[in-house]
Amino acid sequence: MATMDRPIHVVGGGIAGLVAAITAAEAGAPVVLHEASGRLGGRAVGSAERPWVNLGPHVVFTDGALARWLRQRRIDIPMRGPLVRGLRLLDDRGTAFPIRHGLRLLPSIVRHDAPVDDTFRAWTEETFGGSTAELMCRLGGLITYHHDPGSLSARFMWERYRRSILSSDRVRWIAGGWLTLVDTLTERARTLGVRIELDDRLTRQALPDAPTVVATKLAAASRLLDRDLRWPGARTALLDVATAPDRGWPSVVADVRSDLATCCMIERETAPDPGALREEHAELIQAQLGVAADVSVAEGVARIEDGLDNGFPGWRESVQWRRAQILVDGVGAVDPPGTTWRDRPAVDQGDDVYLAGDAVASPGLLSEVSVNSGVHAARLALDARRRRAFAPGWPSVELTPERRLAVLAAVLPNASVETSTHVDRDVEPVDETGLGYRLEHRAGLTRATAVTASDADVRVMTLVASGLPKPARRLLERLPGRLRPWRR
């Protein structure tokens, strides 16, 4: 069984690679993590001299895959809640607390099914009307960092809009920035025995003959695997500034002036996280603006600075440090009309190679896509390793989610199974793979859900079982969704 000692390889040590490595190591597999740079974290950490000023990510969503993955492992990362009071909107009339805008967005709190095939702009105009639609499209920039969110798939944008702008209570900042998260994950990986190789840029020739998770950006994965892996992303201008403190400043300014089809987000990171700059006595302001392909760094940054002048008067006077750049495909996949996340490059690339990252076929927002695909890729790599480990070539079958449900239905008391078919293929994801399987058990009630997809449709099977007598079960079934014990 010598093959059982052979490790799973993970290429790329960002959030996706770290999650994949930890997930695989937890299952007892030896893991080697190869990172091209001298430090783990990828886009979640900043430049060498200021790793704590992260390049990209800012917030974690408490109802999302990252928060859930951390909770499941009891990894406690200190987080700070949203600062609604410090929120300002900058529109053509000036900077203000967004009361008027809030009213304009009011119709959008109603639940809707947004179509995959329409643009967000066309659908919001039709559903909510002109001025609401226009504001919604611009605000989409807050979560996509794209220069024209209205041009993307209505379904894609609507999910993001609901989960961020309409659910701002679920937004958290990590105390100490994303470096805290990266350090904690690194520590966890080390404890689990993951071998971490820094300054180790893998090339096509050096790809190991073993189950391998490629957790780099798509462009790098494309080169590494010598195949065309592409998906639309955003082009984003970033400006980071450390400047002398001014207590009067807002915490977040969303610049939605009408010269933009998107929104420029300006965050004072030191507001939710006073320790964001570590020892330095200064304010950290980070701003992002989605820009079209023909916009230069200078132009993009000039537009951002104009927003800063409005929202953070006096910021220019004592700048201690600044960093300006344009990031291409830095914020993950954006889905054009007619596509959903299922159409992106697949996690399973065949030949025991698996993709993870924020632009692959996994559900979620931003880095959640990296987390979900990281878990999915790790599971597939573990399966591949088991397959290789003993007697390659012998026939084998997998326990599909449907079969698993059939087994449980046969053994659990009072079990019943329901099946539904969804032709539009966009079903609420069940587990990290977006398909697959989830089992929950609370207060004597078991609920298992299996989702499978074919080219034509997506099938959802739900099993409910309980050790409770029938009347009690009936009662529980009738409870509104929020109160049901199996809800997380």
């Binding site: 399966d383 088991r386 397959r387 003993f390 007697a391 070539g393 012998w394 026939p395 084998s396 079958v397 997998e398 326990l399 599909t400 079969r403 698993r404 059939a406 087994v407 449980l408 046969a410 053994v411 659990l412 089992l439 058990h441 078991t446 298992a448 079982a465 050790g467």
Partner: protein, 158 residues
Amino acid sequence: MRAAQRGDPLAMDALLTELAPWVGRICSSIALDKGDDAMQETLISVLKNLPTLREPAALRGWVRRIAVRQALRAVTGDRSVPVADVPEAATVPDFETSVDVRETLKKLSPQRRAVLVLRYLEDLSEQEVAEMMGTPEGTVKSGLFRARETFRDQWREA
């Protein structure tokens, strides 16, 4: 394991994850195309009868026995698969070099496949295989020996 015996659904589910790849291989190596049905029946039987298992350490042997039984049942219940033993001269894979184990397994009877699975995949001794299959050890021994010889001859000729 203990929790699964008590009927804890989460523990049962975890046990399924643990057992499935291994059970799947045994079942499909013996039952071939009926492997998934055999696996399903095996897992149901395992979970149902789990409380009767006194010694958790005996789990593997116990599950293996159920898997082999269910796999044989899945194919022998089906007429299209020859139940009678095929001639001894049938090819038997050399598991180091053979590329298509499945094709080769197809040519054998289910019982013979079970013997091969237990000996080569599960690494049981000939005595253990004989015990489990309810055949004399000598039969297992000579069968395996002849099968290997046949295969080697064929290999050389090819």
